[in-house]
């Protein structure tokens, strides 16, 4: 570890925390449906969209209606993308004559993007520019907007009193897209181009290298997709190598900005939550707990990667672990990126997690298994975190023998049951499917690496799919019917079996009376609360996976330090 490495981590953390307030203010305006300076420019487009689609943005929806409309939209979008991917060969902007995807691969890709997972069973280079733009980029925007909309609905559940409604899904989704994601991406994409990210409709350049070899460069509208891929915590790369590819992430500065853009909206939502419930310290407490978990993960991953691989040290290679890392980023910026992308449900990678040291690679895996709630995906992070907050006040309530309350709402049996349902779906799906793949021949055919690391690849895949992350221990050959199919199911369950209970909680809370804080209430702002929250997250979220982690990364680590090769 170096001073420079820690300077990067400190700088990153400071900027990320500083972003919370301005981003929170902007999000809060959208949450309330207030006019922003951008309405003058984009207001007519918003109204035209509503008029053509027959939407009344002022119509308040109950949680069931909100949920049904949200799922219907995702299903239509996924079908749209499926058709494009299947028919790629016959569609325009395909000068390289790329074939359409197989049914199982197209289904997997469509669900992967609709659920904000962006798991890459496909490799980006096999998609035409048309497929990238129409098939994938729109999901990057709309799945992110959907996540934020769900978070808004849950915030309304806490903030509203004795009403049966949680907002209007279409208005939330459209406003977030038009007034936040699109304008931000326009600026961001231009910045990326200035730093070297291509933006062109030319799909390839054939050239002869200095030594006379042939090389084909794949180009395309990379910057416009890269911007929303990061800001929307989608993570599906234009290229197979994702943000490790020099065309997606050409240098150290783009790397810093890409990492910040993963966290930008997530940290803003903590502040927006505080504003929504009328006490910004509530949001700051959530952010403090998130940052503590983030820094702990970063320290472990950086320490392990900088320490390097003893197997290679034994062969005479000095220094940190550079397998699967780019020279321009080095160890610190690669380890930090891995933690950021898995704390959020982004899944973009600038280094190959599969080639991390055993414990260095366990950090991203564990982050995903916690539910990607440390800042988290846009929207999904904060609502996942609030589910843990509900559990934490429940635990606190049991300890002091009172009805638990959180930000002015009594937390009762219904909310706790729903929160447990949403949280319990994750381990069931991850561990169940991993176990099945670890014994079925079709599952066993997947891993590239042998021994415990092969098991880690499978465990990582289902954690990533269920958690809607999308990063991978990419040695796994996942473009098979077995993995495409089960991962698609995992992604769908991981997304919607979490969202629907969340909306149900929102509806249930919105209908409740406001309970003012008294001297008997458990305070949910100070260090005691932050500590309790972290404890509940680690115990409930983490312990479930300890046996799985022992079979994978921990066994791998013991093999690595003893020079036992597979």
């Amino acid at each position: 570890m170096t001073i420079q490495g820690w300077m990067l981590i400190v700088l990153f953390t400071a900027i990320a925390v500083a972003l919370a307030r301005p981003m929170g203010a902007w999000l809060f305006a959208l949450y309330e449906g207030r006019r922003t300076p951008l309405h003058r420019l984009l207001g007519p487009a918003e109204r035209a969209f509503y008029a053509m689609a027959g939407i009344d943005p002022g119509e308040e929806q109950g949680w069931r209606r909100y949920a049904v409309h949200m799922v219907a939209f995702q299903a239509v979008l996924a079908a749209f993308t499926y058709a494009i991917l299947r028919g790629q060969a016959a569609l325009p902007l395909n000068p390289r004559g790329l074939a359409g995807q197989d049914p199982h691969l197209a289904m997997n890709t469509a669900i992967s993007f609709a659920t904000n997972t962006n798991w890459q069973s496909y490799s980006g280079e096999t998609l035409s520019n048309f497929s990238q733009m129409l098939g994938l980029t729109i999901h990057n925007f709309l799945s992110a907007a959907t996540g934020i909309a769900i978070a808004f609905a849950l915030f309304r559940g806490f903030a509203r009193r004795e009403v049966g409604t949680v907002g209007n899904f279409w208005a939330d989704c459209t406003r977030v897209t038009l007034y936040l994601l699109l304008p931000a991406c326009i600026v961001y994409a231009l910045f990326l181009v200035a730093c070297g990210v291509p933006q062109t409709f030319t799909s390839n350049v054939d050239l002869t290298t200095l030594e006379g070899a042939r090389q084909t460069l794949v180009l395309g509208p990379v910057a416009s997709q890269e911007a929303i891929k990061m800001l929307g915590t989608n993570g599906g790369g234009f290229f197979n190598a994702n943000s490790a590819h020099p065309f997606e992430n050409p240098g150290a500065l783009t790397n810093l900005v890409e990492m910040l853009s993963i966290f930008a909206i997530g940290v803003g939502l903590t502040d927006c939550f505080g504003r929504a419930v009328g006490n910004r310290r509530q949001g700051q407490a959530l952010l403090a707990a998130m940052m503590a978990l983030f820094l702990a993960g970063t320290a472990i991953a950086y320490w392990q990667e900088a320490a390097g691989n003893p197997v290679l040290h034994h062969l005479g290679v000095a220094g940190g672990n550079m397998e699967g890392k780019e020279v321009r980023f080095g160890i610190a910026a690669s380890a930090l990126f891995a933690v950021v992308t898995t704390d959020a449900s982004c899944g973009a990678v600038n280094a190959m997690h599969d080639s991390f040291t055993a414990l260095g690679g366990m950090v991203p895996l564990f982050n995903i298994q916690l539910g990607e709630i440390v800042v988290g995906g846009v929207g999904s992070g904060i609502y996942g975190f609030l589910l843990f907050a509900i559990l934490a006040v429940f635990v606190a309530g049991l300890m002091v023998g009172r009805t638990p309350e959180y930000v002015g709402k009594k937390i009762e049996a219904r909310e706790v049951k729903l929160a447990v349902l949403a949280i319990a779906v994750l381990p069931l799906c991850i561990l169940g499917l991993t176990a099945a793949s670890a014994v079925h021949p079709l599952g066993l055919a997947g891993p590239l690496n042998k021994g415990p690391h092969g098991f880690s690849e499978v465990l990582y895949a289902f954690s990533s799919g269920t958690g809607n992350n999308g990063s991978a221990f990419a040695g796994l050959t996942a473009a098979t019917p077995w993995y495409d199919g089960w991962l698609a199911i995992a992604m769908w369950i991981g997304r919607f079996f979490m969202i629907v209970p969340t909306l149900a909680i929102a509806g249930s809370l919105a209908a409740k009376r406001f309970t003012p804080e008294t001297s008997g209430s458990f305070p949910t702002t100070g260090p005691l609360w932050v500590g309790l929250l972290i404890g509940v997250i680690l115990i409930v979220g983490g312990l479930t996976f300890l046996p799985g982690l022992a079979l994978g990364p921990i066994a791998d680590h013991l093999a690595m330090i003893h020079g036992q090769l597979f």
């Binding site: 420079q4 939209f73 231009l190 509208p221 416009s224 020099p246 672990n321 020279v327």
Partner: protein, 198 residues
Amino acid sequence: MFKEVSSALRPALVLTLLFAGLLGIAYPAAMTGLAQVLFPRAANGSLVSLRGRVVGSALIGQGFAGSRYFHPRPSAAGKGYDATASSGSNLGPASKALADRVTAGIRALAPTAGAPGIPADLVTTSASGLDPDISPAAAYFQVARVAGARHVSPASVRRLVDAHVDDTWPGFLGEPHVNVLELNLALDAQTGGGVASP
């Protein structure tokens, strides 16, 4: 329930088409137009030309095998530096395949056993397989071989490497690095020759 699903159909279908037009066509097209005007070199892949012929991209690594050139890192992209198949090796830390590959890499770099200080990046594959850079240590490691093959003084080659170490501010965001293609082009320009005929 049925009423709610049917009421969702029109907004879902119409918004899908409207957003496809806005986000899938208008947005990338507008960005492409702006990028082509404002930053044409970067927007088209930062191509590097030599005497009117494109020889590579400053951002994408390419293979160099001859002893007259600085070599890049080993690559797992296709058969090596295949820019249509970016990829890392994905080998785990306790992988026998990794240990064997690194052993072979060390042997190729330092045929005399026990040569110390082989830079890690010269025997490890990058994440993309297209890493355009090597570490300064990896460049200095190759100076003697390149100078010998070109019959020039190692000091002059070393000075060339010095001039190509990129550690511009803010250096702590990443790591100092040397762009292999640019270094090799400068080498050809300084000591002459080396361009393969097309």
